[in-house]
Symmetry: C2
Subunit: 361 residues, 2 copies
């Protein structure tokens, strides 16, 4: 009951001094190493409790190889990565691993290379392995076991979890075609991203298969502002589209906003379909029809794989998750004709609630 350390937290030295033993002994007790007398053990543990001591992750990880912490590296915490984080957290719940999520591009506006930098800053010491969300560059896989989710450069890395973007793009376009649309525009994502290119390719293939020529493509860049301008151009054009397939939900919602501002009704005057199924999609007005990526499940799959790689030295795999059309209120036949019961056979429907699962975790 003397001084509980001069500043801030108690260190192992404080515990040792307080307990009247050496730091080495305290370390052994903490880590359950044997070779310490029963009485000493109990005494040390009591002091640990009194001082509220917990070993510093920092110091520990510098001396040790394993920290039992798994890192999730994201550019920033936006809806997409947050959903993945849910899955990661669920999968690790009750396991021996803690989760540390790091947003590496929040400061330093230079978004470039945040993946490698974050990895180098945390890897090797702080974390036993990492899940990297949507990396745009090839990652050094020698730092620490690694799983990439939805990498923008295609399945280059050894371990990857992604969805079938080509098929999803096709699915979205088929849905619109099935409703009777022929003037279908595509608001594409950043051209340098593999996922965006595949979604666009799916769009083109679907049009071609349906014998529709003259697609309309504008660059949305996965960004609200850029998309707003692009949607404006689409709606101003003489051949105004009756439907828009946006490369992700964020830009789809932006498209709805712009259209509504111009007095167009969604879906009567303009159908909009997105991609991802983030939580905001179902909460929008009208609720957004979209191609669902099973984000929570993807997060779970990624850590499952990662933990196997760490614990059992398992081989890296490439996991591809299926997409699914989620039909809501933002799409309808052109001209606002009656919905007409069900969707044509080209499009499938999954009625399940998108954000429903995981609540019980």
């Amino acid at each position: 009951m003397t001084l509980p350390a001069r500043t801030g937290r108690a260190t192992i030295t404080d515990v040792a001094r307080e307990a009247g033993v050496s730091v080495a002994t305290v370390s052994k007790v903490i880590n359950g190493r044997d070779g310490v007398a029963q009485a000493t053990q109990e005494h040390v543990m009591r002091v640990v409790g009194e001082l509220g001591y917990a070993s510093s992750l920092v110091a520990t990880s510098m001396r040790r190889s394993r920290t039992h912490v798994i890192g999730v590296l994201v550019a920033e915490f936006e809806p997409f990565s947050l959903e993945l984080l849910r899955g990661v957290s669920e999968a690790l719940s009750g396991s021996e691993y803690d989760v540390l999520a790091y947003a590496g591009a929040v400061s330093s506006g230079s978004h470039h290379g945040w993946e490698a930098r974050s990895l180098s800053r945390l890897g090797g010491t702080l974390i036993d392995g990492a899940v990297v969300v949507t990396p745009t560059v090839t990652l050094p896989d020698n730092v620490v076991p690694l799983v990439a989710i939805d990498p923008h450069t295609g399945p280059t890395g050894p371990a990857v979890v992604d969805t079938d973007n080509l098929r999803g793009g096709k699915e979205a376009t088929d849905h619109l075609i099935g409703l009777g649309h022929t003037r279908i525009a595509h608001l594409r994502g950043r051209g340098d991203l593999q996922s965006a290119r595949l979604r666009e390719q799916g769009y083109r293939e679907a049009l071609a298969d349906a014998g529709i020529t003259g697609g309309i493509v504008e660059e949305g860049g996965y960004e609200p502002d850029e998309s707003a301008a692009a949607v404006g151009r689409m709606l101003d054009s003489p051949e105004r589209p009756t439907a828009i397939f946006a490369a992700n939900d964020i830009t789809a919602l932006e498209a709805i906003r712009v259209a509504t501002e111009r007095g167009l009704r969604v879906p009567e005057d303009l159908s909009v379909i997105g991609f991802d199924d983030i939580p905001a999609a179902s909460a929008a007005a009208p609720p957004l029809t979209t191609i669902r990526q099973p984000l929570v499940e993807m997060g779970r799959a990624a850590v499952d794989l990662l933990v196997r790689m760490i614990d059992e030295n398992a081989d890296p795999e490439h996991v591809r998750m299926p997409t699914a059309l989620v039909e809501r209120g933002s799409t309808a036949p052109p001209g606002g004709r009656a919905r007409g019961g069900r969707t044509p056979p080209t499009a499938r429907e999954r009625p399940e609630a998108p954000t429903g699962r995981g609540l019980r975790a």
Copy 2:
């Protein structure tokens, strides 16, 4: 171009060796200290680029006081803390701080004391300050600047961001009373939590003010499973309530599920109102009427305060955010009578979309 370090990432020593200078020089260059020849600087930077070196957060933080990283400590990543994280990330975007979110109760099923343990593990070295989400214990405030969000023990700590739980509980109950309900049950949260007690107190006060006696209270513990049982008991009772005020959205959704399973229609046979307004609330069927806590804004307010405490040595404050009734489809007059236009004057309505904001960030 010799060996880029034997294992994993390159260290400052590797860079020094490769560049033919001392580690101290490299350190100076990295940190922009002056006192290094222009030529040497450029040479070192080139080697840094070649080796893909980035300083280890761990080692740096052990020697330095500031890391420019802000920690967000949560028990686990569930919808509530994830929304807060959105606000934190938005507020810090473009600032000089990065965000590190740590889930401290994921492993070690012992949820007890995760706050202090996480703080001790990260604090003092790894992070410059921390936002602790929903702590159940009093925190040591001498480790690092600290802001608590929605602490369960009341505003004990020096810096706190929370909402007016008493008023919110009253608001929820008033809404049901205004609709004409008199047999109103409350599914309360964990009794040891201040927020839960305040919501219950608001419920009781509202009933008393309306001259309604004989409240029905069951323990839901903020937990789905426990709540399901409690709701079952309520619905089995001879004096079956016509409305339920659940202490949070998770348990409110559970209440709807249980009621539906028993063949009751919501809201015709049973009205349900929740608390929080998590994303799943608006996506539910029927969409959940609830008391909104402005989670994203709370996260933002918390870091704003924290950064001022770190940078400007500002005094800790207690920030209380307002709650707001969000009327959706899960409440109606008893017996399923027509909705009747608007809500009676006791209840107010905020039509804004709950998950809409922040999308542009």
